[in-house]
């Protein structure tokens, strides 16, 4: 699915990540943790072609990201659902239209209006907010709407950057259950979080591997969690 090989990334002067090798196999569930500023978000962006590595190779679905044109990247994004830390929407469109946006931009309008959307909205508990505008939603509702938008194309991979950052414990559990359910449906999931409680809670339900970024490198955190 997504493969990083000896990847390094530097911003301006300093090197943020170096010599990172990582392979997200189909159906795997990974957590990505580490202190803030360690490069979790950067690593996520490398995984969906928003950033190009300064060294090494990133392969998305078997193709080297450097060889992909802009339209190829767009097509890759239809197979990768991304939930950003600061989720952004088209604020002038309703929540339902925002959730269906990936379908609209890939020319699948008829599905955007279909019954699957209603099912998805009830799955993330936003049935009552279908016609609301994104700025009217609370932090947790925005996160759930973003998750719904990330999965509406039935992507192969779901990347979520601090998806529980703005929500209380109950809500974060609920979001997590959604992600676990997706994983059980065969999706590859990668969640960046610094919430160790969340990781522990997950491990009870699914076999998750924990990756930790420390000193610019990535390590597989063991059973200590």
């Amino acid at each position: 699915m997504i493969e990083l090989e000896n990847v390094a990334y530097s911003y301006g002067g300093g090197e943020l990540l170096s010599d990172i090798s990582l392979k997200l196999a189909p159906g795997s569930f990974h957590f990505l943790t580490g202190p803030s500023g360690a490069g979790k978000t950067t690593l996520m962006k490398l995984c969906y072609g928003a950033l190009l590595p300064t060294a090494g190779h990133v392969r998305l679905f078997g193709a080297d990201v450097r060889g992909l044109g802009r339209d190829d990247i767009a097509v890759v994004r239809r197979r990768v659902g991304v939930v950003h830390q600061d989720v952004q929407f088209l604020d002038h469109l309703s929540v339902a239209e925002n959730v269906a946006l990936p379908l609209s931009v890939s020319g699948r309008h008829e599905e955007a209006a279909g019954g699957d959307l209603g099912e998805l909205m009830s799955w993330v508990g936003l049935t009552n907010h279908v016609n609301a505008l994104p700025p009217e939603l609370s932090g947790g509702e925005r996160q759930r709407a973003a998750l719904a938008r990330a999965v509406i194309m039935s992507p192969d991979v779901v990347l979520a950057d601090e998806p529980t950052g703005n929500v209380d414990w109950d809500m974060s559990q609920r979001l997590l259950r959604l992600l676990i359910e997706l994983n059980k449906m065969g999706k590859t999931v990668l969640i960046a979080t610094h919430d160790l409680g969340l990781i522990r809670a997950t491990k009870a339900h699914v076999q998750a591997r924990v990756l930790r970024i420390a000193n610019r490198k990535i390590q597989l955190a063991g059973a200590d969690l």
Partner: protein, 301 residues
């Protein structure tokens, strides 16, 4: 956004969903419409000016070139004799299609704008004018002058070349000026649309980022903006063109002098030309917005 038949078709067929992704912008949209309309209005006049100047240059250059005037300056009692003499010479001159002396009434009409209608021409030593129409091959002006000098001392041949040349030159310059104005107006429309599109793209940075994130291609995003601005320019310029043409239509006619000076309007098939102005404005907007969108999108991963 590449220039292709498909991308042009996308502007007109459109995609309601794609249209919605760019938030509506009431005030700036009206400014774009207004500017496009104003520019089209001015373009209609620049076009009318160019075409009228072209007609002037042509009529002064060609039609007047095939005419000449002979002035009989003689005391009143000899005027008629000399006039008849000059006409006799003209009858046997190669290159003269016809020649005829103007009547008193005609000369009075010519002078009326300067001296008023009540002038008694018969009391004044006004020279008699003979209007000469030349054939296509033209007359030998120097030869004719020599013959006239020998037989009709009071005759002065004027083949109009002296005053025609600077007028033709002036009209040509005027026509050039009109075309320069059209080029400048086109460039100003391009600059205005670029500014408006750039502002819209900058204001909608979040929209573009979100669209890129969910897998929209550059063409999809660019078309949403290009379509909007192209249709605005097309619509605005259409309104401006119609108003401009109506104004030209309502311009007061130059009356009798119109034959000579030509009115500042369109004649015949030239009425079709202003219809191209909105098309040109739309094409300019299409290209300008496409270029602006391409620049903005290149900065985004």
């Amino acid at each position: 956004m590449r220039l292709s038949l498909g991308s042009i078709r996308a502007v007109f067929t459109g995609d309601k969903e794609a249209d919605k992704v760019v938030p509506p912008s009431g005030f700036t949209a009206q400014l774009t419409l207004f500017a496009a309309a104003a520019m089209a209005f001015l373009a209609v006049f620049a076009l009318a000016l160019s075409l009228a100047a072209g007609r002037l240059a042509q009529s002064w250059g060609e039609e007047l070139a095939r005419s000449a005037t002979i002035r009989i300056v003689a005391p009143l009692d000899q005027r008629q004799v000399q006039t008849d003499g000059a006409l006799r010479i003209l009858e046997t001159t190669r290159g003269v299609a016809s020649a005829r002396a103007l009547t008193d009434a005609e000369q009075q009409a010519l002078l009326a704008p300067w001296f008023g209608p009540d002038l008694a021409l018969s009391d004044l030593p006004v020279p008699r004018l003979i209007e000469v129409t030349e054939t296509a091959e033209g007359i030998d002006a120097a030869g004719l002058r020599l013959r006239l000098a020998a037989e009709v001392p009071g005759a002065v041949l004027d083949d109009h070349a002296r005053w025609r040349a600077p007028l033709v030159k002036a009209a040509s310059r005027l026509r050039l000026l009109g075309w320069v104005a059209i080029v400048l107006i086109t460039a100003a429309v391009a600059a205005m649309i670029t500014l408006a599109a750039q502002a819209a793209l900058a204001a909608n940075g979040q929209v573009i980022r979100v669209l890129r994130l969910v897998g929209a291609t550059d063409d999809y995003i660019a078309t949403a903006f290009v379509r909007r601005f192209t249709l605005r320019a097309l619509g605005g310029a259409g309104v401006g063109m119609v108003l401009g043409m109506l104004t030209v239509l309502l311009l007061p006619s130059a009356g009798d002098a119109g034959n000579f000076l030509t009115g500042l309007g369109f004649q015949g098939w030239h009425w079709v030309l202003p219809l191209l102005i909105p098309v040109l404005a739309g094409a300019v907007a299409f290209a300008a917005t496409g270029a602006a969108a391409r620049r903005t999108l290149q900065e985004l991963t």
